[in-house]
């Protein structure tokens, strides 16, 4: 199941990346070659093994439920590209079409 040019365009859209025609072409070839390498594990029967998400056998980790100071609002907002009334400011999210 080789990755197609349409697949690459689709994942680029999901990942919010704009690709030129030339980039689309190049990434399709490169991703196909990387995925072809992964054929070695695709060919294995690993159905008796559990997927491993993490190296540590962790259960939920809780801290004591005690209030403590967080980062200062103005310090955090100072790093934002746009701020209005002590809030992050973004362009229109939902909107009437013009």
């Amino acid at each position: 199941m080789a990755i197609s040019r349409d697949d690459v365009a689709y994942v680029a859209a999901l990942a919010r990346l704009e690709l030129s025609e030339e980039e689309l072409e190049r990434y399709t070839v490169q991703l196909a070659s990387i995925l072809a390498h992964a054929a070695d594990i695709a060919a294995l029967d690993l159905s008796d093994l559990a997927p491993m998400a993490h190296p540590l056998p962790l259960k939920n980790v809780f801290r004591d439920d005690e209030p403590r100071p967080g980062l200062e609002r103005d310090v955090v907002l100072a790093a934002a590209p746009a701020v209005e009334d002590h809030r992050f400011c973004v362009p229109r999210i939902l909107g009437e079409e013009p």
Binding site: L14, L17, Y27, I41, P91
Partner: protein, 488 residues
């Protein structure tokens, strides 16, 4: 150059001032880094102010700690409060973190002084430090070669003699491979031994912070300082860090060492020869050495290059032009996200985000991502079987010595193969160390890799200490020497 432990001792005994030591380090950087470009940012004024404050504390009878006055370099994916942190990416240009990473706080509490931020592949994705928005770093041993990556700036800063200690991060070999290519010591600790709080995330189930140093003893000292439980990282192991400095001198008498055939098979002949010589040296020092085969390790590369991009595609979703970093304006939010990410990320980061998105997408999740996670179990169980037989494993760190700049930039898969020997330890969460051991036919440094099971750092440092004491000497990089000539 003096190792960090001795330097700190001299400063604590007031034989030298921290100001003098930090000034010398800054002079070496000013003299030599124009050619190497290990640093993306040097904070001379802050470092000198910290050094003077430290000298005053020592004069007042205080002990500032085991790294008193030691100048350090920090990989630029470690958050430093108020000091620009860019991860080698345009998307974080100008970002000043509102807090320090836990490791940065711990280094400071032990008396270390940060003199600057080290170059890296963008978001730690790469094996040559060529994927940096700041441009490439060069190998101090040969300026036409790469320093390895992604912690190439950290490795080059130590190899050039600018600083005795640097921190890096290792997701698939990003500490050990550049350490090998630059002829320094590099350690990837057990997953969870060092807090990741304040490390900009790449692949969270694989990332670990660790030291790159001029000596094995310094690596032990630094790990004792930065390791240990941190409530701010929920994956941090709640156990004390073992006394590693003692292990460096403990020898390898009776230790069972397995030469892992899969970690020398297919590597360059001169690199394989150095690993075999290292095994003989350990045998001569009293270790029981045997060959071990772990065929499943060969599946590590494929598993890694699905799992790490999958985690990265999720972690890097946060760069959306809203809370920090770059924003490219557009009429609506989705178009703004897209314009920002398209302009802010480099080619390799885009490649990995798309690969990871694909591996996680409906219809391919089981075939790629879940299968890779099962292969991760396969690799980890294979290690477990080997460690029932031996205490540590030995292999190559990198399949070759440092390669020329540009040699692999157009072939992502060839670049990924640089990590083939280092990836298995990340998948299993195990510790591993690269120790310089002689040179290749081209005269460039070779690193031998020592691997141990989870929390096997003590054994790692026992082997590292012996290998260091028996390693053939490596010529100091000409530019490191030039740097020190210029300051006198």
């Amino acid at each position: 150059m003096l190792v960090a432990g001795e330097l700190a001792g001299q400063i604590r005994r007031r034989e030298r001032s921290a100001r003098e030591v930090v000034t010398e380090a800054l002079d070496r950087v000013a003299g030599g880094d124009a050619a190497i470009r290990a640093f993306v940012r040097v904070c001379a004024d802050a470092a000198l102010a910290e050094a003077e404050a430290l000298d005053r504390r020592i004069a007042a009878g205080e002990d500032p700690g085991p790294l008193a006055g030691v100048p350090v370099a920090l990989k630029d994916n470690l958050c430093t409060k108020g000091l620009e942190t860019t991860c080698g990416s345009r998307i974080l240009e100008g970002w000043r973190p509102p807090y320090d990473a836990t490791v940065v706080e711990r280094l400071r509490s032990a008396g270390a002084i940060t003199i600057g931020k080290a170059n890296m592949d963008e978001f730690a994705m790469g094996s040559s430090t060529e994927n940096s928005a700041a441009g490439p770093t060069r190998n101090p041993h040969d300026l036409s070669r790469v320093p390895g990556g992604s912690s190439g700036g950290s490795a080059a800063a130590v190899a050039a003699g600018f600083v005795p200690v640097a921190l890096g991060s290792d997701t698939g070999g990003s500490i050990r491979q550049p350490a090998a290519l630059c002829g320094v010591v590099g350690v990837k600790p057990t997953y969870g031994l060092v807090s990741r709080y304040g490390l900009v995330a790449f692949a969270s189930s694989l990332d670990q912070i660790g030291p790159l140093t001029a000596s094995v003893g310094d690596a032990a000292l630094v790990l004792e300082v930065i390791g240990g439980h941190d409530p701010a990282d929920s994956t941090s192991i709640d156990a004390p860090v073992p006394r590693l400095s003692d292990a460096v001198e403990a020898g390898v008498e009776g230790l069972r060492v397995g030469v892992c055939l899969e970690l020398i098979d297919g590597v360059a002949r001169d690199v394989e020869a150095r690993v075999r010589e290292a095994a003989e040296a350990l045998s001569g020092a009293g270790a029981k050495v045997e060959d071990v085969s772990i065929p499943e390790l060969r599946y590590g590369l494929s598993a890694y290059y699905l799992i790490a991009p999958a985690e990265a595609s999720s972690n890097l979703a946060r760069y959306d032009g809203v809370r920090y970093g770059l924003r490219v304006d557009a009429p609506d939010a989705a178009a703004m996200n897209k314009a920002t990410r398209t302009a802010g990320f480099g080619a390799e980061v885009k490649r990995r985000i798309m690969l990871g998105t694909y591996a996680l997408s409906a219809g391919y999740y089981d075939a790629y991502y879940a299968q890779a996670q099962r292969a991760r179990t396969l690799v980890t169980r294979a290690f477990d079987r080997a460690y029932a037989q031996v205490d540590v494993l030995l292999g190559a760190t990198s399949p070759t010595t440092a390669f020329p700049l540009g040699a692999k930039v157009d072939d992502p898969l060839a670049m990924y193969l640089s990590d083939v020997c280092t990836i298995p330890s990340n998948l299993a969460g195990h510790p591993a160390m690269s120790v310089p051991f002689g040179t290749g036919d081209d005269g460039l440094p070779v690193g031998v890799q020592v691997l141990a099971p989870a929390l096997g750092e003590k054994e790692l440092f026992r082997v590292g200490g012996v290998l260091e004491s028996l390693a053939p000497p490596i010529a100091l990089p000409a530019l490191g020497a030039l740097g020190s000539v210029e300051r006198t």
